[in-house]
Subunit: 336 residues, 2 copies
DNA sequence: GTGAAAGCGCTAACAG
DNA sequence: CTGTTAGCGCTTTCAC
């Protein structure tokens, strides 16, 4: 079918090793011969077969990326980061979407391993110890990214969630709010980062001598935020809540949607903040005040770590924390 | 490092061919021997090396996917479709993001070819004849997807844009609107599908004996929609425009943002419709009335086509049209 | 039913 | 500088 190194060698009247040398610039070749080879390559439209190359060099130049769902904007941002820096080092990305299935995640790890990927990045939203153990067995570099759950003894990159939540609570208080509701997620609360975030909220409220109010929601989608609207409205009426700090942007947006439908205005009637800074946060009206989780950077740093390890360069500590940024936008307002 | 077929053969005391046979179920193997081999595989944790396998079978089980930007939600939906059905046929996806660069698109086509991908799907937003010619040379199945430009003599899958635009115009008219503004995109207007959509709009308006109003915007982002807000507001005041049919959802949302900031209510003051049904369309408030371009299905059908061709099953016509659906939501209202 | 051997396209010693 | 050769890990004739 397609031209091989042999065809080139024959046409250029040299040995295949010489062809290999000019392709890879691996050893000196005389100008004259090089020219002949280059011509032959040109003439035949020869393109090296990376599969054959991989087999001998044992370098697939592939990084496996197992994600929950590429349709989630934050996942897409991570993928962008991973791909873009991977590309700089000549790595291609094999993408697998698990849609939250534990078994699928594990299956993909196996698939990727057979494909000889040199590293694996997992972007998960569930608790899955098995996949970690699986990947550890492969003895290839990996990074485990999970927005919700604590990264179980794995290399990871994120932000300091305790610190971030302190900052947001502090900010809300600085705006004059005294009755601030924290909306958390009830699922596996003590295994998720929510435990840190709740503690941060509590500590900061206490420090400022104001009372804590916590309400737990069951999911973390926009719908879930919408659905707690009624309850929050009740709290607004009975407890005089003036600000809501939601543990996820989606919850915040759902909540705003609810208020929109109820003809209550945000931030005029109530301030709402999120956590994450998903793409929608800055598009939505009102624009959402939130904590930025730098997804693109998370992806970029994750693959950078893997590549470093692959190159045998020393890798730093297990988990890398990126700088925190609080995005002060429209949805939270000063209260007097 | 990792166990190979040889190790298994040795441990099971058979030849490597036998091992291969049991792995692939390619030829009968006596139960007794099969058991021994299976045991050995188990014991060594042996996993076939797909790279080696690919080299001999010339099947990489890889499909290349060149996209504009995975961060765009519609792209992500296409990718989901591609990946999910690819997976059913045991194909993995290698993802490349071009970010709108012609050269990058071409470079990726080459990279993918060298990786021996069996097919290529291009999701582009620019005009790039070269990449098509490039891929055609490779003689591998491909599908070209472009939301904006006519797919230049290539297999593609989309909806009938003329028909869809007729339906939307018709719908707006049926709501009682007489002064409907169509917002198009000025760039390469006669090479893009806009020419069909404009024609559809014009034809339908004419058929209903109402005057056409067309305004062209320069980009197709949310910002662009926002930026024409002033102009549209002017048209609203001077020409009595009561509905705006935007050629893209993003434009529509930008426009709604503008009106939000101007304290004009959609749809109370003005009805606005989009085109595409991006994810945001149903999340946004007010929910956006729009034409659904079934991105997931587009991706799914695209890869299905490639796989069919790979299997030598007859492939239907060049371009496949999917059913049209108009999503009647909040942003367009009856006028009296 | 099983094994020996050739070879996929390429890289990397090893000679010369 | 260049060619010869031995694999990389696997599938696939071809004999037995």
């Amino acid at each position: 079918m397609s031209a091989t190194i042999k065809d080139v060698a024959k046409l250029a009247e040299v040995s295949i090793s010489t062809v290999s040398r000019v392709i890879n610039d691996s050893k000196p070749v005389s100008p004259e011969v090089r020219r002949r080879v280059l011509n032959a390559i040109e003439e035949l439209g020869y393109k090296p077969n990376e599969v054959a190359r991989s087999l001998v060099t044992k370098k697939s130049n592939l990084i496996g990326l197992i994600v929950n769902d590429i349709g989630d904007s934050y996942v897409a941002q991570i993928v962008r980061g991973v791909e873009e820096v991977g590309r700089m080092y000549n790595y291609d990305i094999v993408l697998c979407s698990s849609y939250g299935s534990k078994d699928t995640e594990i299956k993909f790890a196996q698939v990727l391993r057979r494909k000889q990927v040199e590293g694996i990045i997992v972007v998960s939203e569930i608790l899955n110890k098995e996949i970690i153990e699986q990947i550890k067995e492969y003895k290839i570099p990996y990074v485990y990214l999970n927005k919700y759950y604590d990264s179980i003894e794995s290399p990871t990159v994120s932000i300091d969630n305790y610190e971030a939540s302190c900052m947001m609570t502090e900010y809300l208080i600085s705006l004059g709010h005294k009755n601030i509701l924290y909306v958390t997620n009830e699922k596996d609360m003590d295994l998720t980062i929510e435990k840190d975030k709740i503690k941060a909220y509590r500590d900061t409220m206490e420090l400022n001598k104001v009372e804590s109010h916590i309400y737990a929601v069951s999911g973390h989608g926009i719908d879930d935020g919408y659905n707690i609207g009624e309850k929050v409205k009740e709290l607004y009426n009975t407890k005089g809540i003036t600000a809501v700090f939601c543990c996820q942007d989606e919850i915040a947006i759902g909540l705003i949607n609810y208020f929109y439908d109820q003809n209550m205005r945000v931030p005029n009637d109530i301030s709402i903040s999120g956590y994450g800074d998903i793409k929608l946060a800055s598009i939505y009206r009102p624009e959402l005040t939130t904590i930025k989780e730098p997804y693109y950077d998370i992806g970029a740093v994750a693959i950078r770590r893997i590549i470093k390890e692959l190159k045998g360069e020393g890798v730093e500590e297990q988990s890398i924390n990126l700088p925190i940024q609080i995005m002060k936008r429209e949805s939270c307002e000063r209260i007097y």
